[in-house]
Each structure stands twice: as structure tokens, then as C-alpha cells.
């Protein structure tokens, strides 16, 4: 097993939350994604051992969901929405611009491991169409111009934590609703920036 102690401890805490071990499979795959940027064969064997299910069972679940990547992703996963509200608000221009900037086709990662690009289905930001996400942090009201600035900023400043509010303030436009207070939490990998632990059972 090549997950380190910290990761195994996190995995153990996640498993404890559920009445049946196997329910932890999804969260553990997110954990694997945050470690390697994709679901590695190594992670698959670790998870199968932790949950007492076969590697094929783990793999069949990991390939079902689009957020578990089967190939290494770049540091920044750019996901531009192409569903109906974004589509009729010119999301194709945004997609073209990102592709032009990164030189990537859909579902590709560049050689430097900096960017991955995907055109995705609805991300629940329809009021701020067209919208996109970087490592699952949302930016709304983008267009061909500001998405170019956003990509340049990512490349030049190479932020370690992606914060939705920061991107929105500097590059975004119209929003689905008032986001209210500034939030400085964010994502540090191509797994959603959500601390899967401590979710429940805060010990008395």
C-alpha cells in the first residue's frame, strides 16, 4: 500500500461515517484524485483493500463518474459549461478561446501538466451564463475576453489555492445570485476543494 499514514488516517475517518464500508468509495476516490490528479492503479488497489471489494468493482465505479479522471490532469482543470443557458449565451466563444489559449482539445492535458480542458454539462450557474469552473470553483459571467485574462493569470501567477470569489472579482461578470460575503476557501487540486473529513461525528 502506498498511501501515506495521513491519507490512510483520513480514509479511515471517512469509512467510519457510513453504516456500510462501501459507501465510502466515492469520497475515497475524491481523496485519490486529490493525491495524484487522477485515479491511479495504485489508489485502486489501496481502496479495494480498505473497503474489502475487488479492484474491478472500484474501477467500474471510478469510470462511471466524470469527475474521477482516468488520466493525469494538469494543475488547473478548466471546465467550461456548454448546457442550454450557457449555449444560448455564446459559451462556444468561451470554449474556442480557452482552446486557443491552451492549445487543447476537449478532455486533453498539456505537456507541461499545467492545464486540462473540458467542455462540461450544466454546473448550476445558469443565471451567470456563460460560466465555467477552475478545479470546481465557479466563475460566472465570463466571455471571450475575460476568460483569456483568467487563463493568463493562472499561467503567470500559478496560484496554489483556487478561490471562486477571487476569480469572480477579477475576471467574472453577471452572477446567478448575490454571493454575499467574500470567501477565501478554495481548491488545491483537481478534486473538489471539500474536506471530506470531520463531516460528521465531531467528538464530544
Amino acid at each position: 500500500m502506498s498511501w501515506d499514514k495521513t491519507l490512510l488516517k483520513q480514509a479511515g475517518e471517512i469509512i467510519e461515517l457510513y453504516p456500510q464500508k462501501r459507501s465510502a468509495l466515492g469520497p475515497l476516490l475524491h481523496l485519490a484524485q486529490s493525491k495524484d490528479g487522477y485515479i491511479s492503479d495504485d489508489s485502486i488497489s489501496v481502496i479495494s483493500e480498505l473497503l474489502g471489494i475487488t479492484e474491478v468493482q472500484v474501477k467500474s465505479v471510478s469510470t462511471f463518474y466524470s469527475m474521477y479522471k482516468q488520466e493525469p490532469t494538469g494543475k488547473y482543470l478548466i471546465s467550461v459549461c456548454k448546457s442550454i443557458s450557457c449555449e444560448i449565451n455564446n459559451s462556444t466563444e468561451v470554449i474556442d478561446k480557452v482552446q486557443e489559449f491552451t492549445g487543447l482539445n476537449n478532455n486533453e492535458t498539456d505537456e507541461d501538466g499545467l492545464f486540462s480542458f473540458e467542455a462540461v454539462e450544466c454546473i448550476g450557474a445558469c443565471g451567470g451564463a456563460p460560466a465555467m469552473q477552475v478545479n470546481y470553483e465557479t466563475v460566472e459571467g465570463i466571455n471571450a475576453e475575460n476568460v483569456f485574462s483568467l487563463c493568463s493569470w493562472l499561467k503567470e501567477s500559478a496560484p496554489e489555492v483556487i478561490v471562486a470569489d477571487e476569480m469572480q472579482e477579477n475576471f467574472g461578470g453577471i452572477k446567478s445570485f448575490d454571493w454575499a460575503i467574500q470567501d477565501n476557501t478554495g481548491a488545491t487540486s483537481t478534486a473538489p476543494g471539500f474536506q471530506t473529513l470531520k463531516t460528521s461525528k465531531v467528538k464530544k
Binding site: I84, S85, K198, S200
Partner: protein
């Protein structure tokens, strides 16, 4: 048309910290839950929910009280909050999760009290990372205060909440697929019977699956009484509802209104009219799965039954306006592509059919359509949803396949010329 503010009251009056427990409590948060646990009875709560006549806000519009009444007896029972909001056009649960997570938790506490449930899950779609963080923080705060865990508010009730993140699969919004996903399986809808998760759900135990907005409405209903809630809106569509308005609209956003006004009124007043004063060519009344209405049908009332009587559905409450310049074939293609991508692959008519519809539409949109394509489209659609009627008949386990048929029947019934115009009548060799 004016908004009626129940669900969004706290977040509106306290924009700077509505997601934190101190702010929520300062505004009488958790008071209703506490009173309920100490002074009320499960039967009384169920009566209030029944008399409120609230119907599920996830899309199907099933009466919530009836659903709760189905819950079978068992030592282990579960509540699962469906926060897998993924229907294109919908972003109303996002605001409830992000801006007022404690209202949802209070709703969960009351619901679990009524249904004698000790374990609840909030299944949030993976792309909602920020809302999930807010909910998780709120759950932790509630634990610290003793509002979750053992002997809540000093009563006999124990309750644990687990925040569970999905991983990018629209189909997990279908309740049995969601349960499979929560069990660590592929998100494939279950074959019926068993018909109701309330009898056999998570781990085959009795499970309530309710939408975020539905359960967020529970504290208000219990505090003010089911009868009061029932007075809002119209018969069959009581209470308030958050509509997500998007598309070619001046003021897109979430609006909480009593059901009963017309779509036209909604768009003109709250929505600020169509962008650049254009006319509406077509609009979607309830998310991408719903058949479209034409621009001359704006006087239809925004109630579950009125929309259903006009052969569509109010669904998730997502209203998407498309102006006169919209290329409806491209719009339909976008929707069909969505369903083709999100098909879980279990049923052949859906898995193959949605992809075929996508390919044929693509061919037509790019000017390479064939004269036989319209009949071919309808034939493929008929194999997914025989008769192309509404409500749709199905050859599939779940309604995802028929949902991809909705935009096609809309196109063919109301905008056929627009499709035909794109098909070259003579092919030069």
C-alpha cells in the same frame, strides 16, 4: 408580480453572515426545532406537513406528506437530502446550500424527529464544492452546539448527518440512482419494483429522499402551521417556490414567489423583460427535461397543474427564455447532447437513442441533413417514448431517455419549419 419571502428571508436580511450559526440563531434559528423536539409529537409534525399540501421541489412534485406517510417501520431508517441539483437551468438549491445551510439542517432535524430517523445524508453534487464546504461547516457548528449528535436539545433524540459529495453524474438526481451512488455503486437507477425508497431504499432500508428546497421549507411550515402555508399560492401548488430564471433575460436569478402568476408577468416584472427588447421565440418552463412553450404561450400560469395541462412540466422550477434570434435546432442539440452524455447506459433505447438523436441533429444543424431525417428523428424518439405523448410513456427504467425526446417533440410540433429550412432539398452530386 412580487416576491413572497419565506425561504430566502434570513439570507436576505443577513447577507454578510447568513451561513453562520450565530447569525441564524440571532434570527430565531433552531427555535422551531427545539420546540418541536421538546413539546411536539411525530404525528403532529406529519399532520402539519400534510395540511401544508407542499409538493416536492425536486421535479416530480410528489406530495411530501404522502411520501412521509409511506415510510415503512424498521429499526434503521434513513433520510437522504437530494442536493444533486443538475437539471440544466436550475440553480435554486445552490443558493439555499450556500447562503442558508442551517435552515436545511433545522429542516432535517424536524423531519427526522417526525420520521424517527437517526441518520441523514446530504448528497451534494461534486461540482458544488463551495456550497458543500458551507454545508459541512454548518453541520460542524451544529454538532458543536449539541444540535446534532446525541440527545439533541436535551431530548431523547439522536441524529447524525453526513455530507456526501457526488462526482459528476446528473442521473444521480434520480432517487434510486442516488441511493446506489451513496452505497458506493455506479449511479444507475434501480429497476422497479420496489417502487418506493420509503419502503426499500438505502441498504434496502426504508428511506426518505427529499429535495433541498422541500426540507428547507419545513421549519417555516412547522413554525407557522401547515394551514398558513396552504393559504399561499394556489390549490395544488401551495406555498412559495424558488424559480431559477436564465437565458436571454435582463435580470436572471433566483426568485421566490407564490405559484399562480403567469410566465409572462414573471419575465416582465421580476425578470426585467427580454434582453434588447426582443420577442420570446420559445421558453422552457421547468428545466431541460420539460417540453418547451412558444412565445405566444406566455399567459400560462406558473403552477404544477397548469403547466401539466399544457403538456409540459414545472419540474425543477428552471425557466429558460429563448429570444427570437435563437437557433432552436442548436438549442435542442445542446439539450439532447446533455442527455446523451448523462445517460447511464443501462437501457438500450436511451443509451443508443440519445446518441442517434444527437448525431442526426448535428447533421441537420451543419446543413448536411437528409430529407428522411425528420422521420428518422421521430422514429428514434418513438422507440424511447412510444407515442411521443405527454406525460411520456417509457421503454426505459427512468425518465432520462424520454427527457431527451422533449425538445424534439417541441421542435417538431411548433417549429418544424425551422428544422426543414436547414435541410437541403436537392443534393448536388
Amino acid at each position: 408580480m412580487r416576491e413572497t419571502i419565506l425561504l430566502t428571508q434570513h439570507m436576505r436580511s443577513n447577507p454578510e453572515d447568513s451561513h453562520l450559526i450565530d447569525s441564524y440563531e440571532k434570527n430565531n434559528g433552531y427555535v422551531t426545532a427545539k420546540k418541536t423536539l421538546l413539546n411536539s409529537s411525530p404525528e403532529k409534525i406529519l399532520e402539519e406537513i400534510k395540511s401544508s399540501n407542499i409538493r416536492g421541489r425536486g421535479g416530480a412534485g410528489f406530495p411530501t406528506g404522502v411520501k412521509w406517510g409511506f415510510l415503512a417501520e424498521d429499526e434503521d431508517r434513513y433520510l437522504v437530502i437530494n442536493a444533486d441539483e443538475s437539471e440544466p437551468g436550475t440553480f435554486k438549491d445552490r443558493i439555499l446550500l450556500e447562503r442558508d445551510p442551517h435552515q436545511l439542517i433545522e429542516g432535517i432535524i424536524i423531519t427526522c424527529f417526525s420520521a424517527n430517523i437517526k441518520k441523514a445524508f446530504i448528497y451534494i453534487r461534486g461540482e458544488y464544492a463551495k456550497p458543500a464546504r458551507r454545508v459541512q461547516q454548518a453541520v460542524e457548528q451544529a454538532y458543536q452546539k449539541g444540535y446534532l449528535g446525541n440527545k439533541i436539545f436535551g431530548s431523547d433524540m439522536d441524529l447524525d448527518i453526513v455530507v456526501h459529495l457526488g462526482a459528476g453524474a446528473y442521473i444521480c438526481g434520480e432517487e434510486t440512482a442516488l441511493l446506489n451512488s451513496l452505497e458506493g455503486r455506479r449511479g444507475e437507477p434501480r429497476l422497479k419494483p420496489p417502487y418506493f425508497p420509503a419502503v426499500k431504499g438505502l441498504y434496502m432500508k426504508p428511506t426518505l429522499v427529499n429535495n433541498v428546497e422541500t426540507i428547507s421549507s419545513v421549519p417555516w411550515i412547522i413554525e407557522n402551521g401547515g394551514e398558513e402555508y396552504n393559504k399561499l399560492g394556489v390549490e395544488g401548488s401551495t406555498g412559495t417556490r424558488i424559480f431559477s430564471l436564465s437565458g436571454h433575460i435582463n435580470k436572471p436569478g433566483n426568485y421566490e414567489i407564490e405559484m399562480g402568476g403567469s410566465f409572462g408577468e414573471f419575465v416582465e416584472t421580476l425578470g426585467g423583460g427580454i434582453r434588447n427588447s426582443k420577442k420570446v421565440k420559445a421558453y422552457i418552463p421547468g428545466g431541460a427535461s420539460a417540453p418547451w412553450f412558444r412565445g405566444d404561450q406566455l399567459d400560462i400560469k406558473m403552477t404544477i397543474d397548469d403547466v401539466a395541462n399544457n403538456n409540459s412540466m414545472l419540474g425543477s422550477g428552471a425557466v429558460v427564455m429563448m429570444d427570437e434570434d435563437t437557433n432552436l435546432v442548436s438549442a435542442a442539440k445542446s439539450i439532447v447532447s446533455f442527455f446523451a452524455h448523462e445517460s447511464c447506459g443501462q437501457c438500450t433505447p436511451c443509451r443508443e437513442g440519445t446518441t442517434w438523436i444527437e448525431m442526426i441533429l448535428d447533421r441537420i444543424a451543419s446543413g448536411r441533413g437528409r430529407t428522411s431525417d425528420i422521420n428518422l428523428l421521430l422514429d428514434v424518439c418513438d422507440n424511447i417514448s412510444p407515442g411521443l405523448s405527454w406525460p411520456p410513456k417509457m421503454t426505459t427504467i427512468c425518465p432520462l431517455g424520454p427527457s431527451a425526446v422533449s425538445p424534439i417533440t417541441s421542435l417538431m410540433n411548433d417549429f418544424r419549419e425551422e428544422v426543414e429550412r436547414l435541410i437541403p432539398t436537392k443534393v448536388l452530386l
